[in-house]
């Protein structure tokens, strides 16, 4: 289980890093999204993996051992929203650069 997730994070990171290094803006935006998946999973993994643990409290007196770790979840929730905003912003910058330079190279130069 841990190994699966670790490999998943690895594959996502590798694909993302490769894409971020490509010269086309669209490649970079996809790469950034993939990296953000990897990072989100990584943050979740920091709280250790818990299957079938309740995320919702039942009753006021709770034994923390029965529940999932809420801290990474709260962090990732924030990260997802910010990641969305980042993608949107980058998309618009990409479009503006494309309009101004006439091509979709990250440096705005030729092919």
């Amino acid at each position: 289980m841990e190994l699966t997730l670790a490999l998943a994070i690895g594959v996502l990171t590798a694909s993302g890093v490769y894409l971020v290094l490509r010269p086309r803006t669209f490649q970079v935006i996809i790469g950034l999204s993939l990296i953000s998946y990897a990072v989100n999973l990584f943050i979740l993994a920091m709280g250790r993996l818990r299957m079938d643990a309740a995320p919702i409290l039942s009753g006021a007196n709770a034994n923390p051992a029965d529940y999932t770790d809420p801290v990474p979840q709260a962090l990732v929730l924030t990260a997802i929203v910010i990641g969305f905003a980042m993608t949107a912003l980058f998309l618009v910058v990409l479009l503006a650069a494309r309009g101004l330079t006439g091509n979709d190279h990250v440096d705005g130069k030729g092919n």
Partner: protein, 959 residues
């Protein structure tokens, strides 16, 4: 304490710039007047070595507190600052032309007064350094007050760079002092005795410290900024560059004199820097054509004199230094004002053009003559007394022959020169034939403009004739606060008998006249200093500036910088992972073998991984495919969240994924068309590609290893237990993640939604000016093909093909909204919340776009997303402030359960209102981005580069 009042008043006035000119003058005058009275009134409290202090705890852990502290010495300065400030305000009322922005002038002047008061009253040495920089900054603004003049800008920049650099050195010195002594409190530092001098860090500290003091007080070799600062309006020169700011350096020297001066290093550096400045300043002043230049060099010279005195290290010398600080402030400020009057009345400050003015302005002339006599050290004036003390100190026998000779000889020489330039000032301007080259006939200025000078000259006379009564007690208080128990006996009387200092004075007076008389015709026309003309500090400074900030900077950029993005990203990623691997390798330890394997998760990630790699492979030519594949990887991520008991995350991820995909789909249309071609790869391209693959694989391996290593270890005790234990009892919700977001970590969320709102506005703003590239400005190929087939077919497709889905989607709209509200309300206890509800709500709009098309939606869109963003943010903020109103910390939430009929028990926490704000903002932001992007497809924007004027269309609501 009363000492805190100046700052309040200053801030108050600063808040009122830009009003009517009269108002600014009145406010400034009243504030300055009140401040002077206040500070004078404080004298009884400091008269007997008393110290008033007020303290405001700021960061006590770091020893950083705001401390205001006034002793006799600080009192002397405070009075100088406020009284001369008051006089300058009055004077400037008549000096400044009505065309100048008066309010700015006075607000800056008051800001300076506040900064300078803060400097002298600082009881914390870090605070002192901060005020020090503040005076530099305000001085920069005041020198550059006439910013349309190039020389004013240059002078201001030079002053800022020199004094600012010095201030930085001083700041470091202060931190070192704090480190050595163990406290930043001035009281503790002053009581530390010989700790500083005996510390091994002393030489470094001293040099940095002196760098700060010397640059501020224009000591050699940093003297050149002061004459250039004379481009400031004359009231500024009178106030900042003679009476107060340049005194800050000597103030500092005197302030730290008790703890730092007791060493040879101090003696040699300070005394001889001062002596060099003294002689050089006096020498250069003799050759100035500009009256303000003459006074500027004379100021430098007098500051040198004070520095020399402070360097000598004997208590009596320190007394003389403090005395001379006060004396110099009075006569020099009055001289500057007199020059200002001359400039104002005749239109020039050039010695060559001026002469015989005594006939036209007898009062001003007399005042100026008395003040320059004080400057020259003529008996019965205050300048004589302190100069006499100076001569006394230099004449004291020292066993070192060099010191024994150089000090008195240098002092006498400087005295002669200063007499000479004083005569030049008086004789050149006020005597001789009437001026011929003037544009207007000079006459006496308004009486009120002269009052400040009269007052100051009166002080000069009073101090000079009856020193014991006029300044005795104040000087005693100031001296006592600096020297403490070491205070020596000194006498302030005018006549000390016929002794060596008197002989030196006589030599100086006679010698000065002898220097001046034979050469005055030549001196009149000369400009620039003989012998050192080639070695102009200003030119050296400018050359260094150009070399360092232009040439070297460009070379460094050429050597290390690149404009290309790819190498930059490569370097960043490479360094990041290299650092991570190097530091993580040692801690890796033994990795246990996997214990369990979940085939379903494995399958999910088999697909997810393949999607990710395929997306990476396809992103170049098949954008749509790549986008869909990325969605596959996102879906796998989302499933994983659900798998590991994170329902909130799974929901958010799923929804954000949809929104992202739709946005990118909307953007795809503007990208250039690419068809896969058999590439003829060069070696360079191939190498780069394999290199990137290599880095990617290493990065992937590293993250996989790191996450595996962490996941197979037991988790340390974090803060999670706290949240789990308190979410219900304190936050009133059972969904811990949501409670954290809206309650415990509400401030983070507030910041986050702010970011989201800003991004939406940026997106909107950028797209308003959107210009598509020439080759994608046309309608897309698919639509054109259809239109070729039959006119209007493109529209037909949108209308007919999607008719049934459109109907369903229309019906779904209210349902989706209800779902969104449901998500919002239950968020506190069950998965959901503002973010999720907000995205669900925006998906409702996205669906309408899919079904009806952009035009259709825009005709019917009734919400204003920008307003939603604003209200959402406001609501969230108000919730937080509401808590503050009730006395709880920002964003504390209260909660209760309400029993609503038919629905049941509903948690009613104030956090819900906060979440409502989040919801509104997310809806507004996402819809705004969506609308902005979608609108581009129905615009007929002019492509970039074409010069055709844009055709306005009916629907320009979103432009």
């Amino acid at each position: 304490m009363l000492a805190a009042l100046p700052f309040l008043a200053c801030a108050l006035v600063l808040a009122l710039p830009g009003r009517g000119n009269k108002g600014a003058v009145w406010i400034a005058a009243v504030v300055a007047g009140v401040l002077s009275l206040l500070s004078i009134g404080l004298f009884p409290l400091v008269a007997d070595g008393g110290v008033i202090s007020t303290r405001l705890e700021w960061i006590p852990q770091l020893g950083l507190n705001i401390v205001l502290r006034m002793d006799g010495f600080a009192w002397l300065f405070a009075v100088l600052i406020t009284v001369i400030g008051f006089l300058v305000v009055l004077y400037a009322r008549y000096y400044m032309s009505p065309k100048d922005p008066i309010a700015r002038f006075y607000s800056l002047l008051l800001a300076f007064m506040g900064a300078m008061l803060g400097l002298v009253l600082s009881g914390n040495i870090i605070q002192l350094a901060v005020y020090w920089e503040l005076t530099s900054l305000v001085s920069f603004l005041l020198i550059g007050y006439w910013y349309h003049r190039g020389d004013a800008r240059d002078g201001a920049r030079m002053a800022l760079i020199i004094t600012g650099t010095g201030g930085l050195a001083l700041f470091v010195a202060m931190m070192l002092v704090g480190h050595i002594v163990g406290s930043y409190e001035l009281d503790v530092v002053l009581a530390s005795g010989r700790t500083l001098v005996e510390s091994p860090l002393y030489p470094l500290t001293l040099i940095l410290f002196l760098l700060g003091a010397f640059t501020k007080s224009a000591q050699f070799p940093f003297q050149f900024w002061l004459p250039n600062a004379m481009t400031a309006p004359t009231p500024v020169s009178a106030y900042l560059h003679s009476a107060t700011m340049v005194k800050a350096g000597v103030f500092l020297l005197a302030r730290f004199w008790p703890v730092m001066s007791d060493s040879d290093l101090w003696f040699w550096i300070v005394t001889y820097t001062g002596l060099a400045t003294l002689i050089f300043g006096a020498y250069a002043a003799l050759f100035q054509r500009d009256l303000k230049g003459l006074l500027a060099y004379s100021t430098i010279s007098h500051l040198g004199l004070i520095t020399t005195l402070l360097g000598m290290g004997s208590p009596l010398a320190a007394v003389a230094a403090i005395f001379h600080i006060a004396n110099h402030a009075t006569f020099k400020a009055s001289l500057f004002m007199a020059v200002g009057i001359i400039d104002h009345e005749t239109g020039t400050r050039d010695v060559r053009k001026l002469s015989g003015l005594i006939k036209f302005m007898p009062f001003t002339g007399t005042l100026a003559i008395i003040a320059s006599a004080a400057m020259a050290g003529v008996p019965l004036l205050n300048g004589f007394l302190s100069k006499e003390m100076f001569f006394t100190e230099t004449a004291i026998y020292d066993s070192n022959v060099f010191i024994n000779l150089s000090l008195p000889v240098g002092a006498t020489l400087a005295g002669m020169l200063s007499v000479a330039y004083s005569i030049k000032f008086v004789h050149g301007v006020f005597f001789g034939p009437p001026p011929t080259e003037l544009e207007k006939v000079p006459h006496e200025p308004p009486a009120l403009m002269r009052r400040p000078i009269e007052f100051l000259v009166l002080v000069c006379l009073a101090v000079g004739i009856i020193p014991g009564i006029t300044i005795g007690p104040y000087l005693a208080a100031a001296v006592h606060s600096v020297l403490g128990a070491e205070t020596p006996y000194y006498s302030l009387s005018v006549w000390h008998g016929f002794n060596l200092p008197l002989i030196m004075s006589i030599i100086a007076l006679v010698g000065g006249a002898i220097i001046y008389v034979p050469y005055y015709r030549r001196l009149r026309n000369i400009d620039g200093v003989p012998l050192t003309r080639g070695l102009r500090g200003q030119r050296i400074f400018e050359r260094i500036l150009v070399t360092a900030t232009n040439r070297w900077a460009r070379r460094v950029v050429q050597a290390f910088g690149t404009q290309r993005l790819q190498p930059q990203i490569f370097t960043v990623i490479f360094l990041a992972f290299a650092a991570g691997i190097v530091s993580g390798w040692a801690r890796m330890g033994n990795l246990p073998l996997p214990e369990n394997f979940d085939p379903v998760l494995g399958l999910v990630w088999l697909l997810g991984g393949i999607s990710a790699m395929a997306a990476a492979h396809q992103a170049k030519f098949h954008r749509l495919a790549s986008l869909i594949l990325m969605g596959g990887a996102g879906l796998a991520t989302c499933l994983t969240f659900a798998w590991f008991s994170a329902p909130d995350l799974a929901l958010t991820q799923l929804l954000a994924e949809i929104a992202t995909t739709v946005l990118i789909l909307l953007g795809l249309r503007w990208l250039p068309k690419r068809t896969p071609v058999a590439e003829d790869l060069t070696w360079g391209v191939k190498f780069r590609r394999y290199r990137d693959i290599g880095l990617a694989v290493v990065a992937g391996l590293a993250t996989a290893l790191a996450s595996y290593a962490i996941m197979t270890r037991a988790a340390p005790d974090g803060i999670s237990d706290f949240f789990l234990a308190n979410a219900y009892s304190q936050g009133g919700g059972t969904n811990v993640v949501n409670v954290m977001l809206v309650d415990f970590r509400g401030f983070d969320t507030l910041g986050e939604i702010t970011v989201l709102g800003v991004v939406a506005l940026v997106v909107f703003g950028l797209l308003r000016r959107f210009r598509p590239a020439a080759d994608s400005a046309e309608r897309p190929e698919q639509q054109r093909v259809l239109d070729d087939y039959a006119a209007g077919a493109g529209q037909h497709v949108a209308d007919d093909f999607l008719r049934i889905p459109a109907l369903i989607i229309n019906w779904m709209f209210p349902i989706v909204i209800v779902a969104a509200i449901y998500m919002l309300l239950r968020g506190h206890d069950l998965p959901g919340g503002g973010f999720i509800a907000g995205i669900v709500m925006s998906l409702a709009f996205i669906l309408q776009y899919l079904a009806g098309g952009t035009r259709w939606v825009e005709e019917r869109l009734r919400i204003l997303p920008v307003l939603w963003i604003g209200w959402g943010l406001l609501l969230a903020l108000l919730t937080g402030l509401g808590a503050m109103l009730l006395g709880a910390p920002f964003l504390t939430s209260a909660f209760a359960y309400a029993d609503i009929p038919f629905i049941g028990k509903v948690p009613m926490a104030t956090a819900l209102i906060f979440d409502l704000g989040v919801f509104a903002l997310v809806v507004g932001a996402v819809v705004l981005m969506l609308v902005a992007l979608a609108h581009q497809s129905i615009r007929r924007p002019k492509p970039a580069g074409s010069s055709k004027p844009k055709v306005r269309e009916g629907l320009d609501k979103w432009n």
